[in-house]
């Protein structure tokens, strides 16, 4: 059941992303983005990140997507020119992105391996392990290999199950505590960043007052 739902969300995400990347009409691309965002939110739920899923829907679908649609409506003319590059550029770009995908896949298949373990409860679990791999890519680097092995070989489902206290639901309370303890400094910095972005966006996007309006403003004091 879990697998089927995962594949549905994955298909929704990739389909939405594909429409976003290739659609000839900008509004269709925006709707594709909507599906991609919802699919990603579903994937967050599949990965035990309930708070993040809600945040994703509220911020991306409720905020960024609306902003983008406003941007489309404010900048589109009726006789809109073609929104994609010419065929040659498109082919080069497609090759480039396929190459990036191939490199990522090579990195994945080259550095880790997955194996299926039998858990204590008899269920088989897929575990990513780097321990079985002989020469890790960082073997000559200063990083401690054991840390990476520990990070990636810990059994299935460790995080929330281990940390969630009895009687509490989801990750929200833990995220709230972390935000005001371990991550207090980034939290404060990001709030300043948001403030700067807010002021900057309002500053950049506002209308220049015409000379008459300036005189009026001066007359009013």
């Amino acid at each position: 059941m879990y697998d089927i739902i995962f594949y549905i969300f994955a298909a929704v995400t990739l389909g939405g992303g594909f429409i976003t990347a290739t659609s000839k009409r900008l509004v269709y691309a925006a709707f594709g983005l909507l599906f991609a965002f919802f699919g990603v939110a579903g994937l967050y739920v599949m990965a035990n990140a309930d708070f993040l899923a809600v945040t994703q829907i509220m911020v991306y679908v409720g905020g960024i997507l609306i902003l983008l649609i406003f941007g489309i409506m404010l900048t589109n003319r009726v006789s809109q020119a073609d929104v994609t590059m010419s065929g040659g550029t498109k082919a080069v770009t497609g090759l480039l992105s396929l190459g990036i995908f191939a490199i990522l896949m090579m990195a994945y298949f080259g550095t880790g391996s997955e194996k299926t373990l039998k858990g204590a409860d008899g269920k088989s679990k897929t575990v990513s392990t780097w321990a079985s791999y002989k020469s890790a890519p960082w073997s000559g680097s200063p990083y401690n290999k054991d840390v990476f092995n520990e990070v990636l070989s810990k059994p299935y489902g460790a995080p929330s199950e281990a940390k969630t206290k009895e009687g509490s639901y989801g990750t929200s309370s833990e995220i709230g505590v972390l935000m005001l303890t371990d991550y207090l400094m980034p939290f404060e910095i990001i709030s300043v960043v948001i403030l700067v972005a807010l002021i900057g966006a309002a500053m950049i996007a506002r209308k220049e007052p015409t000379p008459e309006e300036e005189q009026l403003a001066e007359a009013r004091g």
Partner: protein
């Protein structure tokens, strides 16, 4: 095959490539921004997947919260810039915004 870390990483790599394609092949600045949002989402999927299947507990989720916040700030500022470009150039084609070139 049970869904594991690899599935999430594969999905995120595919979404990232789609985002790169959208970002580079579009002739409209708003569509380029959509590609950037796809890329940020792909990065977030990776963080969440490692938070789920690794031993970094909630660290990945915290990082992706910050990524979402940065994405929101970026979208707001970028759209303000796009509106200004439209006002000055009467077009949002990033290939035509080259008046600093000569």
């Amino acid at each position: 095959m049970t869904v594991g870390l690899g599935h999430f990483l594969f999905l995120s790599a595919a979404l990232f490539s789609l985002g790169v394609y959208a970002m580079l092949s579009r002739k409209n600045a708003v569509a380029v921004l959509m590609g950037i949002e796809l890329i940020l989402n792909a990065a977030n999927i990776n963080f969440i997947a490692f938070s789920r299947f690794g031993a970094i507990n909630l660290g990945g989720q915290m990082v992706s919260i910050f990524v979402i916040v940065i994405a929101a700030a970026e979208a707001a500022v970028a759209l303000a810039i796009v509106l200004n470009i439209y006002k000055n150039f009467k077009s949002v084609d990033p290939t035509q915004v080259d008046s600093l070139r000569d």
